[in-house]
């Protein structure tokens, strides 16, 4: 059963990613990006990462895709479609080479997998290790500063200059 779900998700996600790259219409590319985000959320559920699946839906499907669709709509009147540049063939060669290298490395490495059953409700454990004293409290504070800087930077950039 889980194999069928994984292969279905893999096919849908690779197809959606290819659609983002191939489709001429930018708006349709943005919609297939939303489909890709949703399938990745379901992939997190198959990996027993329930909290991360909800975070994926809230942030990517809810916020980032809306930002991208707004950007598409604000810049749509100049351009219909997303043509490829002059570097299409070299880009294809580079990404296929990287893909070959990564797949070869993944398949030929003997990963030390652990067969213990995973931690089932992950939310409490993630909260404890994010906010505990010998956990990740310093990166959490730094990411708060980063988000504040990003908000201020976006506001300053978008301000109309008189």
């Amino acid at each position: 059963m889980s194999e069928i779900i994984f292969w279905l998700l893999a096919i849908v996600s690779v197809g959606a990613a290819l659609a983002v790259v191939i489709l001429r219409d930018v708006f349709r590319a943005a919609l297939s990006l939303v489909l890709l985000f949703l399938t990745i959320a379901v992939l997190y559920i198959t990996l027993y990462a329930d909290f991360l699946a909800v975070v994926q839906i809230l942030i990517y499907v809810g916020a980032i895709s809306i930002l991208i669709i707004v950007a598409v709509m604000l810049t749509r009147d100049v351009w219909r479609g997303s043509p490829s540049g002059k570097l299409r063939i070299p880009a294809l060669v580079v990404s296929l080479l990287l893909l070959g290298t990564m797949v070869f490395t993944v398949v030929s490495t003997n990963w030390e997998t652990n067969t213990e059953p995973p931690l089932q409700p992950t939310t409490a454990a993630i909260g404890t290790s994010l906010f505990s004293q010998n956990g990740y409290i310093v990166p959490v504070e730094i990411s708060a500063v980063l988000l504040l800087a990003a908000i201020l930077g976006a506001i300053v950039l978008m301000r109309e200059k008189e």
Binding site: S2, E3, A10, S13, V14, A17, V20, V21, V26, A30, I40, L43, L47, Y48, A49, F51, L52, V55, Y60, I64, I68, A71, V72, L74, T75, V78, G81, S82, S84, L87, P90, A91, L92, V94, S95, L98, L99, M102, V103, V106, V107, W111, E112, T113, N114, E116, P117, P118, L119, T122, A125, I126, S129, L130, L146, L147, A150, G153, A154, L157
Partner: protein
């Protein structure tokens, strides 16, 4: 055939390379931003898969994925602000025309 770590890692590599191709080949800057999001999501899949299959009782990979999501959100906000500012000045979203910093 049981789905294991290798399957998730190969899927993540395929998605990452599709995103890389889009970043290198596309000319519309909004599509390039979408492809960067695809690459970040591919990395997240690899992190969560390692967390599930290598250290199932520690959530290190999932916490790293959360930080990647935070940075991706900040990047999307600032990136779209930059895109719309350049679009206002130049009336274009073509990266071939963004040559202000070329020497």
């Amino acid at each position: 055939m049981v789905v294991g770590l290798n399957h998730y890692l190969v899927l993540s590599a395929v998605l990452f390379c599709i995103g890389l191709y889009g970043v290198l080949a596309k000319r519309n800057v909004v599509v390039i931003l979408m492809c960067i999001e695809i690459m970040l999501n591919a990395v997240n899949i690899a992190l969560v898969a390692f967390s599930r299959f290598v250290v199932p009782l520690f959530l290190t990979g999932q916490i790293f994925a959360i930080f990647v999501i935070v940075v991706a959100a900040a990047e999307a906000a600032v990136g779209i602000a930059i895109i719309i500012t350049i679009y206002r000045r130049r009336e274009s979203v073509d990266v071939d025309k963004f040559d202000l910093m070329k020497w």
